[in-house]
């Protein structure tokens, strides 16, 4: 039996059976909001969390994580990981502010791109496991930034444009959110509609097969790492705009949440499977969870436990891998 003509949309865009993670995460976001609202109703008598201002503010703050996670997702889909995110963010921000002026943002992106390029070359050409190579690159970036700060007394003030992109608003909508939206659309198009995107999935599934099919695997890997680094650099420049300055360690808080957001969104940690919409929702989940825990003044111990439990429970509900039998 040959196949009947498919619904073109589903055959073109379908990347696996599961919309489940997306639905589940969205449901969980509602749970978080509900719990937080009950808390504020009880303590303040207001339902602040449901106000558009609060939600827009969360999305604005979420944009920084969201942009990082978008890049991280590309790399995770390949079956790799980028642990150099923290100091790529910091380096992007610090170099952008050091240069200042109209070149600030291009330099921030460029630094990220270069880090990503190094990562990509190490992973694709030297074939050093990304887990460990990017770890080393992170250490090198930290070293460079420490030397930079100590030796050159760099300028750290964000330019007006950086600040505008991070905290400005158009018709009440944060500009950072729009930047995130642009990045999201670009990544979504890349993954669903371009040869590079499809190659990313192919490599994540079976690199040897993709290679033998004539996919330029090395170039695709380098591209994905470059994009990941560049997005981290972008996030760094925006973050610097948000705090009006760059400082060391500003990226430390983004690595694990980015991985968690990607995975909670249903992307398989070993690569090959996952939808960008999931990552988007995963980011929102993480940002709201953090915010609500902070609002509830949860002590750090409780936060860590809840954080870990949420990841496990989410994955248990929808992410159970297939049992290997043959």
């Amino acid at each position: 039996m040959t196949s009947l003509p498919q619904d073109p949309a589903s055959s073109r865009f379908k990347l696996g059976e599961d919309d489940k993670p997306i639905v589940m995460s969205a449901g969980f976001i509602l749970v978080i909001l509900a719990v937080g609202t009950i808390y504020t109703l009880y303590t303040q008598g207001t339902a602040t969390l449901l106000s558009p201002e609060y939600l827009l503010q969360q999305l604005q703050v979420g944009a920084f994580l969201g942009i990082v996670a978008a890049g991280m997702m590309l790399v995770i889909l390949l079956g790799h990981i980028d642990l150099s995110i923290p100091w790529t963010i910091a380096a992007g921000a610090m170099m952008a502010t050091t240069v200042g002026g109209p070149m600030a943002i291009p330099v921030g992106l460029g630094v990220g791109l270069i880090v990503g390029l190094v990562n990509g070359l190490g992973v694709a050409y030297l074939r050093i496991p990304s887990m460990i190579f990017t770890l080393g690159v992170n250490a090198v970036m930290r070293g460079l930034m420490v030397a930079h700060t100590g030796g050159f007394a760099p300028q750290t003030a964000a330019t007006d444009l950086m600040q505008y992109l991070a905290v400005g608003k158009i018709l009440g909508i944060p500009v950072a959110l729009m930047v995130w939206a642009v990045v999201s659309i670009a990544v979504m198009l890349l993954l669903q509609r371009t040869a590079v995107g499809k190659s990313i999935y192919a490599i994540g599934n079976k690199e040897a097969a993709a290679y033998l099919a004539g996919v330029p695997t090395k170039r695709v890997i380098v591209t994905a790492f470059c994009l990941c680094g560049m997005l981290a650099g972008l996030s760094g420049t925006l973050l610097a705009g948000y705090s009006t300055k760059a400082y060391q360690g500003m990226g430390d808080a983004y690595l694990l949440p980015a991985i968690a957001a990607v995975v909670i969104g249903g992307t398989h940690i070993l690569g090959g499977r996952g939808r960008y919409l999931g990552t988007l929702i995963g980011v929102i989940l993480i940002v709201l969870l953090n915010s609500v825990l902070s609002i509830m003044q949860m002590p750090e111990s409780g936060r860590q436990i809840i954080y870990g439990t949420v990841i496990i429970v989410m994955l248990l509900v929808y992410g159970r891998g297939r049992k290997v039998t043959s």
């Binding site: 642990l83 190490g122 050409y125 030297l126 074939r127 050093i128 496991p129 887990m131 460990i132 190579f133 770890l135 080393g136 690159v137 992170n138 250490a139 090198v140 970036m141 930290r142 070293g143 460079l144 420490v146 030397a147 700060t149 100590g150 030796g151 690199e207 040897a208 290679y211 033998l212 694990l256 991985i259 968690a260 995975v263 398989h268 940690i269 070993l270 002590p299 750090e300 111990s301 409780g302 936060r303 860590q304 436990i305 809840i306 954080y307 870990g308 439990t309 949420v310 990841i311 496990i312 994955l315 248990l316 992410g319 159970r320 891998g321 297939r322 049992k323 290997v324 039998t325 043959s326």
Partner: protein
């Protein structure tokens, strides 16, 4: 003869690690004002022991083809538990040690169960449990502190002589037969004991082999009728146990407990680096915990050398980063030798 060649080539990575360690360690001692002395050896072995244990802990899941991002957290949790328990009568102390190690193993067991029955990828499951373990550690020790038996912590962090002198063995350490070994640092003895009494038997047990088999190919291991689930749980449990030893030793070394989150992260990441430098493949199936011990030794020896040489303090992190990057990139030479590109994809 042919066999020796086969064995050498199969263990090339381990042998390289050993050679690098010996070279860099001899170099350090030669440049140290008191190089090749017992005091230096004791100091070095104290510094290395916990990382070596955590690296061994990381090795077992890695051999199985998974990563354990919770080893640092388990070490930290056991550290906080032990800091509450290691005092009182000898019996109480002994019980405290047993409970601490059991707690480490239990954490590993929980990881194993989540991976096996929850069917969640190890790397992400342990990322999550790691957060939970750290939360528990913070709960047990909201701020650093603890009350650890002084004698014990002194004896555990010195040479065998101090043990004998503290606890009155071997005529307070003066017995003639004891002299040839009295200088050996306790952590070194512990390291060898753990390697010989725990790791080697495990590697030669059916469960241990199944760990290698799963790392080599889970489907094939299942088809071969191997007890995969048991091996996975055992691997994580053993990993937790090793991390627990590390945490226990850290407690003795610091006489306190500290739920230090950055430190837990640093140990986890260093353990992965140590495993890779020690010649274990992150893809699983190939390697040994002995190699990881040498990986940990190499990592530590790199920082030993920072204390000997004149390097601008603000350039040190850069230097360290470059050396780390170089060390983990050693495996890249393999790529140059591979003539069949398909062999790269695994």
């Amino acid at each position: 003869m042919n066999d020796i060649r086969v064995r050498l080539s199969q263990n090339a990575a381990l042998l390289t690690a050993i050679a690098i360690f010996i070279l860099s360690y001899v170099f350090y001692n030669m440049n140290h004002p008191r190089g090749f002395s017992v005091a230096v050896l004791i100091q070095n072995s104290n510094e290395v022991f916990t990382l070596a244990m955590v690296a061994m802990a990381q090795t077992v899941p890695v051999l199985m083809g998974g990563l354990d991002l919770s080893v640092g957290a388990i070490m930290t949790l056991v550290n906080t538990i032990a800091s509450h328990l290691l005092n009182g009568s000898p019996l109480q102390i002994a019980l405290g040690m047993v409970i601490s190690l059991a707690a480490g193993a239990a954490c590993g067991f929980v990881n194993g169960c989540i991976v096996v029955y929850g069917r969640i990828q190890p790397i992400i499951a342990t990322l999550a449990t790691g957060a939970i373990f750290l939360g528990l550690a913070l709960f047990l020790r909201p701020s650093p502190g603890g009350n650890v038996d002084d004698d014990l912590s002194w004896a555990a962090t010195n040479d065998l002589y101090e043990i004998a002198a503290t606890y009155g063995y071997a005529q307070n350490g003066e017995a003639a037969w004891f002299q040839p070994i009295s200088w050996i640092p306790v952590p070194l003895v512990l390291l060898v004991l753990v390697a010989v009494l725990v790791w080697l038997p495990f590697a030669r047990s059916v469960t241990g082999r199944t760990v290698y088999a799963v790392g080599s190919g889970e489907g094939a291991a299942y088809m071969s009728g191997l007890p995969i689930d048991r091996a996975k749980i055992a691997a994580f449990t053993l990993g937790g146990f090793f991390a627990g030893i590390g945490g226990l030793y850290l407690t003795l070394q610091t006489s306190s407990g500290n739920a230090d989150i950055p430190q837990a992260g640093a140990y986890t990441l260093n353990s992965i680096a140590a495993v890779v430098i020690g010649g274990t493949s992150l893809l699983g199936g190939v390697g040994t915990a002995i190699g990881s011990i040498f990986g940990a030794l190499i990592l530590r020896t790199i920082s030993f050398n920072f204390r000997i040489f004149e390097i601008d303090p603000l350039m040190q992190p850069l230097f360290e980063g470059v050396v780390l990057l170089a060390a983990v990139s050693l495996g890249a030479f393999r790529v140059l030798r591979v003539k069949n590109t398909l062999e790269l994809f695994r």
